[in-house]
């Protein structure tokens, strides 16, 4: 059904640790993985799915590691990739960083986790918070008699344990919107969408029932409310704690939250909003002599708001030299390893317009290889503001002990995949 065996390899293809779940694949097959991958890379066609004979390799890369699943069946590929990413998530939560060293340093726990996360190719409990209740790095200190499987593992509520206690009951809600933008060289917006996410930090005792109210247009429509200040969410995805059928029926977002940090939901909005930071650029290349760059950035959001840590990366040819900059605000820096100029503006108020000029020398001989035309990319953060206008209307918290709990809400809008193509 899914993976027969899972391997974690270093960049040279050496197996750091592995687990053979089903025994139908010869584990030495993994030795062919890296040569196959190298061959593909040489041909310029990497693919996340490789095969050799009847063996299929599904792999992902994380820092200096390859995580590879092997199968000989018609496995569910999306399940396998999801699982590999889940492995990364769990290991990262256990060891802070998942890399070659942390695998070696913790190989006993890694084995234990591999044993618990998947059985005979079927993923099992993958919630690291729950796992940490019975698989710990201090395993040697715990005696068998004390350690039990938390009921949570097999409960319908498999993400929250019972008996959690806080002195002060609070929920922190972060609404984070990322703006994706693609603009062509003529300045036309090809695509723009918003990917929003509602993140929770839950510090609540017991088994609380939560209900989140948003200004969702469909909900307003159902309840006959004025749709004026509501938002249309194109597609919504929920953490598994949310009762999906309930949402499907009456758009109620009701759930028993996981303890601590989690992403409650994400949504996509296909809004045609004005690009928050608009860039106009002129990049003139005079062969064998110089490159001149002029970039104008304009904040197209409310005057009261301020964009923080704005970073505008402008691509330059790889063989430029002697950079000179002039900026009306902020500072510009040439980053040769990335072949970009990064113009940083700490605080960029709405409605303002700034200018940056850059001048580079070019060598008198042409370089051999062709270079692509990377787009200008922009990074920014605008606090206290959601571009879609989405709002948390309420968060109802009900627990049988009847405590009072406070919800706190923060909004922030940031750049997602924000690209503007250039002409040169």
């Amino acid at each position: 059904m899914s993976a027969s065996a899972v391997f974690i390899l270093d960049m040279k293809g050496k197996v750091l640790i592995s687990r053979n779940y089903k025994g139908d694949v010869d584990t030495t097959e993994i030795d062919h993985f890296l040569p196959l991958l190298m061959q593909q890379e040489e041909e310029g066609l990497t693919c996340p799915l490789l095969s050799r004979g009847k063996v299929h390799f599904l792999w992902i890369k994380h820092s200096n590691l390859y995580l590879v699943a092997l199968t000989m069946k018609n496995s569910n590929a999306s399940l396998v990739y999801s699982f590999l990413y889940k492995l990364v998530e769990v290991f990262t939560e256990y060891f802070k960083e998942l890399e070659e060293e942390s695998i070696q340093d913790n190989f006993v726990v890694v084995y234990e986790l591999l044993d618990e996360l998947m059985d005979f190719g079927f993923p099992q409990t993958t919630d690291s918070q729950i796992l940490q209740e019975y698989i710990t790095q201090e395993g040697n200190k715990l005696e068998v008699t004390k350690l039990r499987v938390p009921n949570t593992v097999t409960n319908a509520v498999s993400w929250r344990s019972e008996g959690i206690k806080y002195k002060k009951n609070e929920v922190f809600i972060d609404v984070i919107e990322s703006v994706n933008l693609l603009v062509n060289a003529n300045g036309n917006v090809l695509s723009s969408d918003i990917v929003g996410s509602v993140k929770l930090k839950v510090m609540l005792s017991g088994m609380p029932e939560l209900r989140l109210g948003l200004n969702d247009r469909v909900l307003f429509g159902l309840t006959g409310r004025d749709k004026g200040k509501s938002v249309v969410m194109e597609d919504v995805k929920f953490h598994q704690c949310v009762r999906l059928s309930r949402f499907e029926n009456d758009r109620t977002i009701s759930f028993i939250p996981p303890d601590g940090d989690s992403e409650l939901m994400s949504y996509r909005i296909n809004a045609h909003v004005k690009p928050l930071i608009w860039i106009e650029s002129v990049i003139e290349k005079f062969s064998h002599s110089r490159v001149e760059i002029m970039v104008k950035a304009k904040g197209q959001f409310k005057k009261q708001s301020v964009a923080n840590s704005v970073q505008i990366s402008v691509p330059v040819p790889s063989d430029v030299d002697s950079p000179r900059f002039k900026t009306s605000v902020g500072s510009a820096k040439y980053v040769p390893e990335k072949n970009v100029v990064i113009w940083t503006i700490k605080s960029f108020p709405g409605g303002k317009e700034f200018l940056m000029r850059a001048h580079f020398g070019l060598p008198s001989v042409d370089k051999d290889e062709l270079e692509g035309r990377p787009p200008i990319t922009v990074k920014f953060e605008i606090p206290y503001f959601t571009v879609s206008g989405i709002q948390v209307r309420y968060m109802k918290i009900i627990e049988k002990s009847g405590y009072q709990a406070l919800p706190w809400v923060r909004y922030i809008t940031q750049s997602g995949d924000y690209q503007l193509r250039t002409n040169s």
């Binding site: 990497t46 095969s51 190989f107 006993v108 097999t154 695509s191 996509r268 995949d417």
Partner: protein
């Protein structure tokens, strides 16, 4: 201190030392030693020699130590089966431990020890664990049944574990249910006929309930299992869909994709006119789009699946083109997939945007991506006719960049554009020729050579160009050699005087100096053709090429349906059925979409009438002709000239090719024999041969009769029975009925005058009002005698078409005035348009093709002719008697296509394409005419002629 220290001992005598430590009395030391053993095992050292010592550590109450020993056992038990027995006792004991964690661990590990001797000891503990009070143990035991089955299937069946497993589907705990489902599915997969997952509405209901409560992985198991179920009817199908759709909002992409699989499959059963069907279609798009924000590997799986979904149900994503635009930092495998989907979604509505993007991509640096982008531009040109011009000019711009691989790729696609739109873009040939030298890839060289050969008459130095290729003939790839051979033969047939030497050279290179059998055979065929019958050679080599289709890379519909059932799996990523890459699955049944139960089969919109989209599944459009059609084709081949070198081809494309060659040959043969007065029959000659085994008996008989009536003899045109034009009530006792006919090239109006009055009628005269085609009496109306009461006289009045013209509504309306001694009476009648079809309405094939292209497609009208039980030859004959001439006949994917022409008395041509599916009484008629308003009247004529 971290675990990494365990990896550092590399001293000699290590094993010996470890042995001592393992047998130490101190717990701590023991554990340290086991860790070192595991560390060695991890780095690939063989520590199997320590087996008895490690197993001795198994009996411990330290959980961590126990887990490590278990791990060791799983690794080495197979190599030490006899010693593994030593561990059995501890396993059995652990399975009864008060701590469920230990019980589960023991049963889980035991299942992983793939040693036959152990399995029998496993049965009792497993039986207990399957009924354990703790769900954690039960869910582990459920999986263990699948493990055991993998080792010893018979044992599992004998022990009745399968029934216990089935019972777990009704377990109160969702995780247990999910694992039981997963285990059963796994077992069922290797035993396809076991009927293990006997899914019924009750069990489905249980699964759907568990779906809401189990983990994300459990949801995937359940959804994948649901996808194997076939609902009884559309109502059940809808209710399952309704309960599955909430899963589309799950954060895990794999859950979403498995839900999409269930929905895509069950949707097949919903009637298309159902409101819910439309709702469901709308619900599918947003989650599919959101999958594109997942990690690249998951995006890749999603894109490969979207590629299938777009082919199966193009309407779902037709408005989502933009999300497939390529981003600079997308990995290459994502870029290539997005490009593929962009072309599939390209339509007249979005073509401008798509082209702008493709042009952008074509100037990137990644060679594979650029190539594919250039190719995509060509595919757009072929797919969206309105964009062809823009595509060609974009390609020319790209050729100007002189980037080698861009130029080559552009030339390959331009060749296809020439084939799709002949006589339209040949002006660019000069530009192409400039780049001849830079072509170094076989495909591009072959394409260029094809172009030179095909348009040899327009390229002044075609001979020089081809000669230059000939110099290195033997170094070329086969593809280029074959193309060069054909191109030079074409050139010779077009310019025989200057190129005799060249053609002899290439023929000798191909036949004498080559050891490639394909090349040699083709050389010989040309040689013999040219030497025995140059006219025939011309007909064969320069024959009309079949049109190339828009989508050359569509997945064959039955495969597509199978792949839809495998959404999310490797099969859907490879676009191959599982038995193509999974061992031992040959006997496994192909998954199929359920048949639609709804009644209404009408496609929602004309756009959907595309192949594969709206066709009912049980009757997919055959890419490979079915047996019957193939037989029909073979028969046709047998009837062809005995020189035919065509062997029965397997693919339809080859079949068409062969047909075409022979068709051309036949044509020329007929022309050759034309002296015998058969000129007029033309291509109609072979029409009397029974062409289809599927033809109903009636049609066959008709054929025989036609044959009896003699080849080429006109069987007489169809005349509508007379109708009453003027009732006696309205004309003071004079009743006029009549009809129109065309006889021997003359239009005649057959009129019957009946006197229903009490008095004699005399002094008849007739006059026509001005009409659309200038019909007027060619002679005065002459009734031989006065018309006595109750007397009837029949008159045939010859008509000419030189009278005054005025457009009438309807077009074929004729207003007539008849006068007699009593009064003047007016009436109007509608004449069938076929009386206007003239005898010289047969267009030349070349002209036909050019004209067809030339008439804008807006002028095309398509009709269905229902309930006509004739085969194509009978149809041809019947129509020909009415001056509707069949110019060519072609068999495309089992359908007969008749290309026909007719000409009106005023010189207007009407072109027709009549599509006949053998065995189906419904024909499709496409008409093209510069005066499109005439089409409906032509249709009426077709119907009248064919049904009478």
């Amino acid at each position: 201190m971290t675990d990494s220290k365990y990896f550092t001992t590399t001293k000699k005598g290590e094993i010996f030392e470890l042995k001592a430590e393992l047998n130490s009395d101190k717990k701590e030391k023991k554990k340290e030693a086991v860790k070192k053993v595991i560390a060695s095992m991890t780095v690939g050292k063989d520590v199997s020699a320590l087996f008895p010592d490690v197993v001795n550590c198994m009996q411990t109450d330290n959980l961590e130590l126990k887990k490590l020993v278990y791990l060791y056992l799983m690794n080495y038990a197979k190599s030490q089966p006899d010693m593994a027995i030593m561990a059995v006792n501890t396993f059995v004991k652990d399975c009864e431990d008060p701590n469920p964690l230990i019980r589960a661990l023991a049963v889980r590990t035991m299942g992983c020890i793939r040693v036959d001797k152990i399995t029998e000891y496993l049965c009792e503990p497993l039986r207990k664990c399957l009924k354990d009070e703790d769900p954690y143990v039960r869910k582990t035991a459920a999986v263990c049944v699948a493990k055991l089955h993998d080792i010893n299937a018979q044992l599992v069946e004998d022990q009745g574990f399968l029934d216990t497993l089935k019972d777990l589907i009704s377990d109160s705990n969702p995780m247990v249910v999910a694992n039981a489902v997963a285990a059963l599915s796994e077992i069922a997969e290797s035993h396809p006929n076991s009927n293990l997952l006997d899914l019924n509405p009750q069990s489905i209901n249980k699964l759907l309930t568990a779906l809401n409560e189990c983990t994300e992985w459990g949801q995937i198991f359940i959804l994948d299992c649901l996808a194997n179920y076939t609902p009884r009817d559309d109502r059940e199908s809808q209710s399952i869909c309704e309960r599955v759709t909430p899963r589309l909002s799950h954060a895990n992409s794999a859950v979403v994709l498995s839900a999409v699989k269930v929905l895509m499959k069950f949707m097949e059963m919903l009637p298309k006119d159902l409101d819910y069907y439309g709702t469901l279609l709308k619900k599918l798009a947003p989650p599919l789009v959101t999958l594109l924000s997942a990690e690249p590997e998951l995006q890749y799986v999603a894109l490969r699946n979207i590629n299938l979904i777009v082919q199966k149900r193009p309407e779902i994503l037709k408005h989502e083109m933009k999300v497939f635009f390529v981003k600079y930092n997308d990995p290459i495998y994502i870029k290539l997939e997005k490009l593929d989907i962009m072309i599939r979604l390209a339509s007249q509505a979005n073509i401008a945007q798509v082209l702008a993007e493709l042009k952008e991509y074509a100037t990137e640096v990644d060679v594979d991506f650029v190539r594919k982008a250039v190719r995509a531009i060509g595919r757009c040109a072929i797919k969206v006719e309105q964009s062809a011009e823009r595509c060609v000019s974009t390609l020319l711009d790209l050729i100007q960049t002189k980037v080698n691989y861009v130029v080559q790729e552009a030339i390959v696609v331009i060749k296809d554009i020439f084939r799709k739109y002949p006589n339209k873009y040949e002006s660019v040939i000069a530009t192409l020729c400039e780049n001849l030298d830079s072509l170094d890839e076989p495909e591009a060289r072959a394409a260029m050579i094809w172009i030179v050969g095909e348009y040899a008459e327009r390229i002044d130095n075609a001979d020089e160009l081809l000669e230059s290729f000939l110099e290195g003939f033997h170094d070329e790839s086969t593809q280029v050699q074959l193309q060069l051979l054909t191109a030079i033969v074409k050139l010779f047939l077009k310019k025989p005087t200057e190129t005799q030497e060249l053609v002899q050279q290439v023929l000798s290179l191909a036949t004498q100096d080559s050891d490639n059998p394909d090349l040699r055979d083709r050389g010989y065929i040309y040689w013999r053709l040219l030497s025995t019958d140059p006219v025939a050679a011309k007909e064969v080599v320069l024959a009309e090429k079949p049109l190339i289709s828009e989508e050359t890379d569509l997945i064959e519909p039955t495969l597509l349906d199978e792949l839809i059932c495998h959404i999310g799996t490797l099969a859907s990523v490879y676009h191959k059925p599982p038995n193509a890459f999974v061992e031992g699955s040959r006997g496994v049944q192909h998954k199929r979409l359920p048949p639609r139960t709804g009644s209404n089969e009408s496609p929602e919109s004309p756009e959907l009438a595309q192949p594969a989209a709206a066709q009912p599944v049980d009757q997919p459009p055959a890419v490979i002709p079915s047996q019957g059609d193939l037989l029909g084709d073979l028969l046709n081949l047998d009837l062809g000239p005995p020189t035919s070198g065509g062997t029965p081809a397997i693919t339809s494309a080859m079949q068409m090719g062969a047909m075409d060659l022979l068709g051309g040959g036949l044509d020329s043969l007929v022309m050759q024999g034309g002296a015998g007065g058969r000129q007029e029959t033309g291509f109609g000659g072979p029409a009397v041969m029974p062409s289809s085994l599927n033809a109903p008996v009636g049609g066959g008989l008709g054929d025989l009769f036609d044959l009896g009536s003699g080849v080429g003899m006109p069987t007489g045109s169809y005349v509508v029975p007379k109708t009453v034009w003027l009732p006696a009530m309205k004309a003071k006792g004079l009743e006029i009925s009549g009809t129109f006919a065309r006889r021997m090239g003359t239009i005649q109006m057959d009129v019957t005058f009946t006197n229903k009055a009490m008095q004699i009628m005399t002094d008849f005269a007739i006059q026509f009002n001005r009409n659309s085609f200038g019909l007027s009496p060619a002679a005065p109306l002459q009734l031989a005698t006065p018309l006595s009461p109750n007397q009837t006289i029949e008159v045939s009045l010859p008509l000419s078409t030189v009278g005054p013209v005025m457009k009438m509504d309807p077009l074929n309306n004729l207003q007539v005035a008849v006068k007699n001694n009593i009064d003047v009476f007016y009436f109007s009648s509608l004449y069938p348009i076929n009386i206007l079809f003239v005898e010289d309405g047969k267009m030349e094939r070349q002209v036909f093709l050019a004209t067809w292209k030339d008439i804008p497609s807006d002028n095309e009208a398509q009709f269905q002719i229902k309930d006509c039980h004739l085969n194509s030859d009978a149809v041809s004959n019947k129509l020909q008697s009415n001056n509707i001439f069949t110019i060519a006949k072609r068999n495309v994917e089992g359908q007969d296509m008749l290309y026909q022409s007719m000409k009106l008395t005023n010189g207007i041509w009407i072109l027709a394409e009549l599509r006949i599916q053998p065995g189906s009484p419904n024909f499709t008629l496409s008409l093209k005419c510069r005066a499109p308003e005439i089409s409906q009247f032509v249709l009426q004529s077709y119907e009248a002629v064919l049904k009478n």
